[in-house]
């Protein structure tokens, strides 16, 4: 994956070593990262580059230095965890709904909002899509697990 990045893992790690955090946070590399773990696996110095990409994405998002299209990765992950917190298991329809709405409020892209809409009937035809998703029975314990792990912070 590194081949398609403007700043690949080696360049990002070097920037961080040199204390150029701002420059690293504004790079595009970590937004192109797909968490495939290849860089961490092949690094001769055992640097967990993929883990560092996770951290860079979070920091960059929190400091508001990301463009709306890039924020989608983080917004998707947040919508994903919110969904698990509520249901215990992933409800795909709800996830897509929440993700599309939050990205729309930030980027106002109608084409992105409506993209994938044609997929729903195709999935339904194949019995791969359920309007009512599964839920865990003991959702209260899931909520408590989230509370303890989030330690007062918000998604």
């Amino acid at each position: 994956m590194a081949a398609g990045m403007d700043s690949g893992p080696t360049r990002l790690i070097r920037l961080l070593q040199l204390g150029q955090t701002e420059k690293a946070l504004r790079a595009q590399g970590m937004w192109q990262c797909v968490s495939c773990q290849t860089c961490s696996t092949r690094c001769p110095k055992s640097v967990d580059c993929a883990g560092i990409m996770d951290a860079l994405r979070q920091l960059s998002f929190e400091r508001g230095v990301t463009a709306p299209e890039q924020q989608r990765t983080v917004l998707f992950q947040k919508a994903f965890l919110n969904n698990i917190r509520r249901n215990g298991r992933l409800n795909e329809l709800e996830l897509i709904g929440e993700f599309k709405l939050t990205t729309f409020t930030r980027g106002r892209s109608v084409s992105f909002l409506l993209k994938d809409a044609t997929l729903a009937p195709e999935l339904m035809k194949r019995k791969k899509f359920h309007l009512v998703g599964e839920k865990a029975r003991d959702r209260a314990v899931v909520a408590r697990i989230f509370e303890r792990c989030m330690d007062g912070s918000h998604l």
């Binding site: 937004w31 797909v34 696996t41 989608r72 998707f76 947040k78 298991r89 792990c149």
Partner: protein, 290 residues
Amino acid sequence: MNLAYYPGCALHGSSNDYEQSLRACLGSLDIQLKEIDDWICCGATAAHSLNQKLAVALPARNLALAETKGFHELLAPCPMCSMQLLKARKELMESEALRRSVSEIVELEVRGETKVLNLIQLFESIGLDKLKAAVKVPLSSLNAACYYGCLLTRPPEVVEFDDFEQPRSMEKIVEVLGGKTVDWNYRTECCGAGMTMASEQTVLDLSHKILTNAKQHGANCLVVACPMCHVNLDMKQPNIEQHYGVKHAMPIYYLSDVVGLALGFKPEALGVDRHFVCAGRSTEELGIRG
């Protein structure tokens, strides 16, 4: 034999064709899957990206649920779930303090001893000889590109499975079924994984390269053991073809599909008719068996 089973969200959602095919072929190999009661999501990429504690606690609760039922082995056919479970298990095994604090967080005692198997490992533990003996319809026309993707073999210190650069375990299974496999270059490259919604272009680019390379090396299908790989290579294949103006028409089978076909199941019994690509065409027509 009874085996604890952690389906994960995908296999009970849009990848329910994967569950259909693995239940069918494992059933005929005398393995009954016992779903872990009230399992919860493993947290997937979202948890390990946003909250490290959740990335351990969510899988740990599932390991504890399996342990309280006395299971020592657990099948997790989704490599994302499997990797998350194994990562939590490794961390729990290494630290008693962590076991104590996580047990409190998840409200169950977690020992982290349950062995976690992916689907390839399960077939290996059944025994390739036994699998070979059960073959009713050898897949003599199959020329498969076995595709591992990322998380079956990475991170190697977590999953401890096969060779992370040159894996061969899936090829061995396909060959036992009477099929041929191709040597190709994209076996462990990423398909774009969970970026399908957030960054579709990434998925189209990566998956197009995978399909192109498989075809260049003479494959007549891809075999995968991951629900996300299947979504990106099968469901998104029409989008890839449209975007690049090419026709791949490459059927994508789950490993359990090809095992099931060799065991004599009809494609519909395995959910193959619910795939997006070449779903309506017979296996004979596609040159898979017979």
